[in-house]
Symmetry: C2
Subunit: 382 residues, 2 copies
């Protein structure tokens, strides 16, 4: 039905009317006092969201731009980095590192499995000559619905003494606890179309003092993604290049909403939705793709056996106007993913499970008791 | 007065209600068929605007991102480039080239003067060993209101035989004729908050076949700005990274409006506004900053003598809610700039001149006959 589509993909995520309305204003001059006030306010809000006193800088671009910026501003030609790769995004940071001529060692895990923190510890402890300049990893791996144990890995990096932790928190920030300072993260990258409840177009990179110290000697070439000018202009509540002004209007409104809800409530809501989506899928006999206990609060990946995940996904869209995400790369047709990230309430999760259950039933593929999924989801929502 | 501000700066420029409304929709999935249809349609529209059959790619970022992409995708380490520098943006491309370790020769002209095409011809003809890989220049220099003779310079580059023409058309495209194919331009970079009548956040880079041939051997490191994946996904009506979906909605609406108006009418309108703004300023005794005959159809820079340009600019804003641009860098306080780029009608130009004239009068600084500016502007508008 026209304009009825509900997004339950891991980005773009649904956007509140308040935010859309804020974005619908006429643009203002990006060098005006009025815009500086917005930059000042959102910078404080972003620090709150990142639980940090470090700089949080805003780049007009996608989450990949923010993550690349974090890497190329803290590393130098030939530096050795340790990358975690257990999905499409982990894979991507390996590619970025190689594109800039870094020496990449990779800690891998199968898609669906979490990265093993002990593999990082072993590699870091073996590096007695302190050759490893950074550990790069994805917190919530959007392609598989796995959340990696960033806290423990960051602790091992700290014990190493010199390496930085560069974390892709694109689908974890605003969904899951990412206390940048408490965990000692050096770079945290994220994107607007995720937990921020905004359309895509802005990305964010937070940099610790240690990251800035590395910036001072970084020799990788960059201009648009050179964070130095971003920091310098941020100190004057401004930006080095014309920013996406209307998305900034939305950012202020969205962060307002998040502050009213509170970090603890936001994390509890995402955790409840993870549990509810998982319970619903298990109750209707659809196996979870992420290893038990490692499901992301942002997204639940489901690997139905004996049926085409794409057929299920398309039928849910046609019948119920709910957009689920498909599997990426080799998981296409084998996995579908329920995004429950950002502006998602209990009703949305209950509805998604109901629609999946009803679709299975209509396709003659529901194997258990009809309603079992909704019952389990409802119970998990409490 | 609240929300009454009219933008007459060279970006962000005013945005039509139709475009704001289009942007106010809920985002849709960027991998959906519905979004692919928008990418397909806007790609055709962008080719129309660029008067080209080459690829026009869309990057979420500022105009600088597009220009940097054009340079780093066609050049390699140590390449010699000839950069034109007669203002803040010319200066910027020299910085980008140096940031990537290119060997930069610079053709300069004083701020306010156009680049001399003969200086390019001489340098290119002297390059018998074909060491110059590209000529990089700004078409409409936003900082000074000068339009450079891109057509002639591009002809000299063509005569060189191997160098590419990489043109910053950020404030010329959609205001002035930029027939990419007819002029033989290899890279054309632009940004959404200018002639496109959109808020900032999208940028555009068009690449000729010769530019793509250079891409094949380019060895400068890049990932987010690597145009290869943009081209590959554009062939499937898609994007390599999550694009600013809501700005795409606006892009389609804005290009629709531009197609209805027609290229010739758009160029004639901007030319009329240039003439009208110039006539108005001269009639009230405010000298133009750009050399006679070289004023940009996008922006008129004015260098008032014996009065503080910032005082005038601020008073116009306070009294009449019109935002003019100030001078950049060493021109601050010496120059103000009237943006007449994008969604600007005759009324806007008449109003701006009236407001400047009335402000001068109220400050006791109007030296001629009150109303002379409006009269001259009105006559030039026809």
């Amino acid at each position: 039905m026209q304009d009825k589509l509900t997004l339950m993909i891991p980005g773009p995520t649904p956007v509140p009317e308040t935010v859309l309305k804020a974005m619908g204003r006429h643009p203002i001059g990006h060098r005006s006092g009025e815009f500086q006030a917005i930059v000042r306010r959102t910078t404080e809000q972003l620090k709150w969201l990142h639980q940090t006193s470090s700089d949080v800088l805003v780049i007009t671009g996608s989450g990949t731009a923010a993550m690349e910026a974090g890497m190329i501003n803290t590393l130098s030609r030939g530096d050795k980095v340790l990358c975690g790769d257990n999905g499409k995004f982990g894979e991507r940071w390996v590619k970025v590192a190689r594109a800039y001529g870094l020496e990449v060692n990779v800690v891998t895990a199968e898609w669906g499995q979490p990265l093993d923190p002990e593999a990082f510890r072993t590699a870091l402890e073996a590096d007695t000559e302190k050759q490893i300049k950074a550990v790069v990893l994805t917190h919530s791996e959007t392609s598989t619905g796995v959340i990696n144990d960033l806290e423990t890995i960051a602790r091992y990096v700290k014990a190493h003494g010199t390496a930085l932790t560069i974390a892709d928190c694109v689908t974890s920030l605003g969904a899951s606890n990412v206390p940048m300072d408490a965990w000692g993260l050096d770079v945290v990258a994220s994107g607007s179309q995720k937990g921020y409840m905004l359309p895509p177009g802005l990305s964010f990179v937070a940099m610790s003092d240690r990251a800035w110290a590395a910036y001072a000697t970084s020799d990788l070439p960059k201009f648009y993604l050179d964070l130095g000018p971003y920091r310098k202009t941020a100190a004057k509540d401004s930006n080095p290049f014309t920013p996406a002004v209307n998305l900034y209007f939305g950012l202020e409104a969205a962060l307002d909403m998040m502050q009213k809800e509170g970090l603890e409530a936001i994390f509890a809501r995402h955790e409840r939705h993870r549990a509810a989506a998982q319970a619903g899928m298990e109750a209707i006999g659809l196996p979870l793709f992420a290893a038990t206990g490692h499901g992301s609060p942002a997204i639940t990946a489901v690997a139905p056996e004996g049926l085409d995940a794409e057929l299920l996904r398309k039928t849910v869209k046609e019948k119920f106007d709910i957009l689920l995400a498909g599997g990426q790369d080799h998981l296409k047709g084998k996995v579908f993913r329920i995004g429950h990230l950002g502006y998602v309430c209990d009703r949305d999760v209950l509805t998604a499970v109901s629609a999946i259950e009803a679709t299975l039933h209509s396709l003659g593929l529901h194997k258990g008791t009809m309603g079992a999924g909704v019952a389990a989801t409802s119970a998990a929502l409490g």
